[in-house]
Symmetry: C3
Subunit: 390 residues, 3 copies
């Protein structure tokens, strides 16, 4: 594989970056899924992600690879927030961002992200269901108005968003009753939640989480589901994507994209293998494993059909994470495909075609053709890349 055979990437799942400068502790906090400071005597720079950031990013800021953290951070400060972001995002090779806008913090908008990346990039929104519910709850006077507002905002989102996203894995875990709750159950759960909650409180109620999932499924828009590892809010065993098996059966044919999945990503690949409407995402599973990204990507490429795997960075907060995520992905895929082509296991033409599918073609197909405004989006997205379909 030569790098030029890679498509411009579609990052189908990421977040905004911080608008304000950040001291080292803030920077380090974005290198880990931990909420706590690093253990005494250790640093989050001493991780696969930390080493990958120190390899990929310093040269983009005119430093040597593997510059010490303090040198890198000083140079970053010197260049300033915007110039740093422009250099890093500009080097990522991502031309379309699908941005989950449901995270808190003073973050860039999807459009900001596209602008910082340079002229050819575009951005679309991924709407986080739990954030819609929390906003509706903050403004609701009773359960009925809460549910009505929620229905309206989900309908509205379905007309402009690329996808919905659920973080039920964090809030309750994926051991959820797979069927939609009844109206009466939903109403009771809403009333109980509104009664007990304070402004801004998170949604943990399993009935309401299921109501969100099924409200999204009903729109037909692709639904992204967090699975696998993430911050310590979750119990990792309860984020096994295989826990979604019965929900997956019930929710067909709405496209479901299983995010990350690690260390249960082989199970995610199985689900994508046997269910036509299920897709697997790379996301965090590559970004956080650094020098091991190739090995983890290879495990995804066991059972996942090649038309069902999607690149993303899951980048959040730091512009470093986009370029590192994209670079790790490209290098990992190159290494695998080179080996498989060299050994004769794959043909070069197939390898190039698969690179286009995972990097862009699959996302273009999944996010262009579903949901209420599918045909409109489809006309823009389809047929642009002849390598994406055989």
């Amino acid at each position: 594989m030569h790098p030029q055979t890679h498509p411009h990437l579609i990052d189908h799942h990421c977040h905004g970056i911080l608008r304000t400068p950040h001291p080292r502790p803030t920077f380090e906090a974005f290198l880990t899924e931990s909420h706590a400071p690093a253990a005494a005597g250790t640093t989050f720079f001493d991780t696969q992600l930390g080493f990958a950031v120190r390899r990929v990013c310093p040269p983009l800021l005119d430093l040597d690879p593997h510059a010490p953290p303090e040198v890198y951070l000083a140079r970053r400060h010197e260049l300033g927030q915007d110039e740093t972001a422009r250099r890093l995002l500009g080097a990522a090779g991502i031309t379309e961002y699908l941005v989950d806008t449901g995270l808190p913090g003073n973050l860039t908008t999807p459009q900001d992200l596209a602008t910082l990346s340079g002229s050819p990039a575009t951005a679309r929104e991924v709407v986080r269901l739990e954030s819609l519910a929390q906003k509706a709850a903050d403004e609701a006077k009773d359960a009925q108005s809460f549910l009505a507002t929620l229905a309206t905002t989900i309908q509205a989102a379905a007309h402009h968003a690329a996808a919905f996203k659920s973080i039920a894995a964090y809030r309750h875990g994926l051991r959820l009753d797979p069927d939609p709750p009844t109206e009466a159950e939903t109403h009771r759960a809403a009333a109980a939640w509104l009664k007990e909650r304070t402004h801004g409180a998170r949604l943990h109620d399993p009935t309401l989480l299921r109501h969100l999932l099924w409200s999204a499924v009903a729109t037909g828009l692709p639904l992204q589901l967090h699975t696998g590892f993430g911050d310590p809010d979750l119990r990792l065993r309860d984020a096994d994507p295989l826990l979604l098996t019965d929900f997956i059966r019930a929710a067909a044919p709405t496209p479901l994209i299983l995010l990350h999945g690690y260390p249960y990503h082989r199970g995610a690949g199985y689900l994508a293998h046997v269910h036509p409407h299920v897709y697997a995402d790379l996301g965090l599973a590559l970004t956080h494993t650094g020098a091991r990204a190739e090995a983890v990507l290879a495990e995804f490429l066991e059972l996942t059909p090649f038309g069902k795997l999607l690149f993303s960075t899951d980048a959040y907060g730091l512009p470093e994470l986009y370029v590192v995520g994209a670079q790790l992905y490209r290098e990992a895929l190159d290494a695998l495909l080179t080996r498989w082509v060299d050994s004769g296991a794959w043909s070069a033409a197939d390898a190039e075609r698969v690179a286009h599918l995972i990097g862009a073609g699959n996302a273009r197909r999944v996010y262009s053709s579903s949901g209420p405004s599918g045909s409109a989006r489809s006309s823009a997205g389809r047929g642009a890349d002849p390598a994406d379909s055989r």
Copy 2:
């Protein structure tokens, strides 16, 4: 390793092939565990198995490797069903087939399979317990006659079959009470099932599935148990071989062979490590992972004692799957053993010995010496290959 150091393989778990010609959709359906057509815009040829078929098989039909699917299928049609089967099976290097005859469809018999493979091949039957039960139920007039017929057919099968096989993983999952049901429980379950079922209906009742398992264990014949991934009838989490732990303890010393196991194959290896009567099988775990077969085989070779791992193809329907399964296995093992011998980790003599064990010696030992007609089978199978034991 040179290919000639491989033994003639014993495929200790496979199925028949289709007797009738099959159009592309049928062919594709055998490349996947999915029951549904591929998602719009994708094809089951774009999988590790699809790529492996396109690499290995076209040259056997006088085409270039990686021929496009339509070219390959046209050539296959031109040669005809039998000539295609003869060429593909003849190239597999398998000289003994243990055939699970419990699958539906117009399939070849074990003897057909051996004949198509060329003169030196032989075949024996593996009897699927659930199929016996369904046949007995279709003919039974009441629970008592059903159970009596079942007992008789299991006894009869024990005298001619190489092994029994259970697919409880598909029908209920492996979260089964590990102990045998009482006679009264079995009778009640049988009566309830017969009352509710229609002709040809599958067996899902956990009490009767346990009755089948224990009826098979009582014969002492080796028992193959499906574990790990397969078609979407199963919930993959419920097919973790470790769920069998208590059953395994109770069923000793009847040999138990854990099929496939993926992605829980390391757990299967652990069970084979700590229980003398437990064996692990490769099967689907290599066939479906194609260019990754080496990596998956390597994981099996962590805890599984080398006298406890068995080659199989789990091929079904298409003759392609035998030759691809055998070829992937041989190449994967060669690659591993070459690396381990070159690095000094293993001696060349040990590597060759282990290749003989996994490819044939272990199966010969397991399937020759157990059960009621063990001694008869044993006299034919033992001692043929001096490399099988040290």
Copy 3:
């Protein structure tokens, strides 16, 4: 990496070796986690560990690598128990042993182990909680005196031991209520256990196992927890370290070291990633996987922060297991680091620093600074190796 860049290793979790000569069956029994003899026609020498022993150890006894078992055992007998132990331990490159003294058998003391290893080695004790409880129970006249004795011995141990260790994974599994039992619950459980138990009987009661865990946590001394595979006393699914998630949250900030973890070691790495007080150990996961140790170590090095991973051998009974464990670890790490440095993914300086952390620095930090006598131990252990912290 050149071997000389490795630090002298701290083996933070191992056991004593047999004082008495052992015939082949005894020797073989220490090559496996199985309790039973090998299946007919197989031998425990035909395992990754068996092959690793035959590679590493014969040259240390003046034989060729890969000598047949009988030749090796004869030479061992010829040299005698002590000379064999001195040669093998002396070659391990371990200069500090943290020895779990809770195993039965005629085993060397920690001091014996250090002495056999040659002059620069030292040893400290790891106190197994369940053994303390069993000893206290053997001597107790009632629940009150049992609990009082236990409290006293735990306090006393906290003043001299390097760490506590729990094998709750073996005795009940890790599906334990995460919170400490109340005094009344503990008293009731103790009374019930004492009433039913015979002299020397093991502790399986979950309430008392939790009482032990929380008694240890209260001392602040590091607590080692068996997780993952081991002998067939355990149900492997119940040894998943992720089952400890809620206990981990509750037990902070006492350092918790998750031993082995395999095949759930990626989950252990996740826990070490998100919880400042959690560490992951290699132990059995490398020793038993032999030629695959590099691959397994690499999986640990995905999410585990480099300041959180600790080398150990978990060696027990045979001096072979120390040198094999140490050698497999060094070679595996060398291979990985060489590849990562050669590809540019890591810098050479970072690689060397990480080798020092995993091999010694992390253990020195964890076991020097916690618990009641932390400051005393700390003064001896800290600052000895400038490469251990950045």
